[in-house]
Symmetry: C2
Amino acid sequence: MVKKLENLDETLREAKLRPTRQRVDLARLLFSKGDRHVCAETLFDEARDAGVNVSLATIYNTLHQFTDSGLLRAITVDSSRTYFDTNTGDHHHFYLEDSNELIDMPHGYVKVDNLPQPPEGLEISSVDVVVRVRSAGN
Amino acid sequence: MVKKLENLDETLREAKLRPTRQRVDLARLLFSKGDRHVCAETLFDEARDAGVNVSLATIYNTLHQFTDSGLLRAITVDSSRTYFDTNTGDHHHFYLEDSNELIDMPHGYVKVDNLPQPPEGLEISSVDVVVRVRSAGN
DNA sequence: ATTTGTGCAAATCGTTTGCATCTGA
DNA sequence: TCAGATGCAAACGATTTGCACAAAT
């Protein structure tokens, strides 16, 4: 992530995205605080709070463009919103059902074994493990 | 699943749900064809085709009630719709990204090892493995 | 008779889209 | 210059909700 930060313009160009003011600003917000999970609304509010002027439509566009170019990873755990993870490495998640929060599991922990063969003609795109957790005694 | 079918009224009563005409009809549609994955729209169309008269609101109500009482299991793989699985046993899924279809992996296949401890005070509610697959060469 | 369920239409909410206007290369 | 970006508001699609009416116990 720090790598991405060193030269945001450069990072964006490598992703074949013009380093526009809003993309650079959003990239800075996203990548300057370590690994995190955001959704569109979250990032929108954060931008507003940081005095960064960006429309919600642009937030969505940017989130998807960053995802398509590998800067972000999309995670589906809650059918009502899409989360984006700034950690694009191979890792899995805890999903806190009570607060709708995602927490990274350190890479190297979970091991998925004995996967059956994918259906004929199909190849694996990703293997996602989500451990849903909730307050004990519920 | 067959067990559930033997006496739908009884199954519903055990789930503390009144065996109304629409619930019984939907239960029959859901549980008489082996394991399957449906979403609200899917079931709605299927009901219409089978001449079963049920409103979409009732489809949603019923799907959730069945899920809450353990007759169905909800699966989140696509942030735009919710899938329900008539197989409530312990198993995981292939998700066909091209066709938005779910396929059960036989139980006993995938093994998830070395899970990190859940965050303090939280207990595991479920461990979901989704293997996203797509047409080879893409 | 009372409680619970159903259907309809309107309301929500996250997300997408159309389009006129800007902006970076 | 001009393809690509942005912002706004309207459009969308899945899901939920409010409420009058109907059905189950």
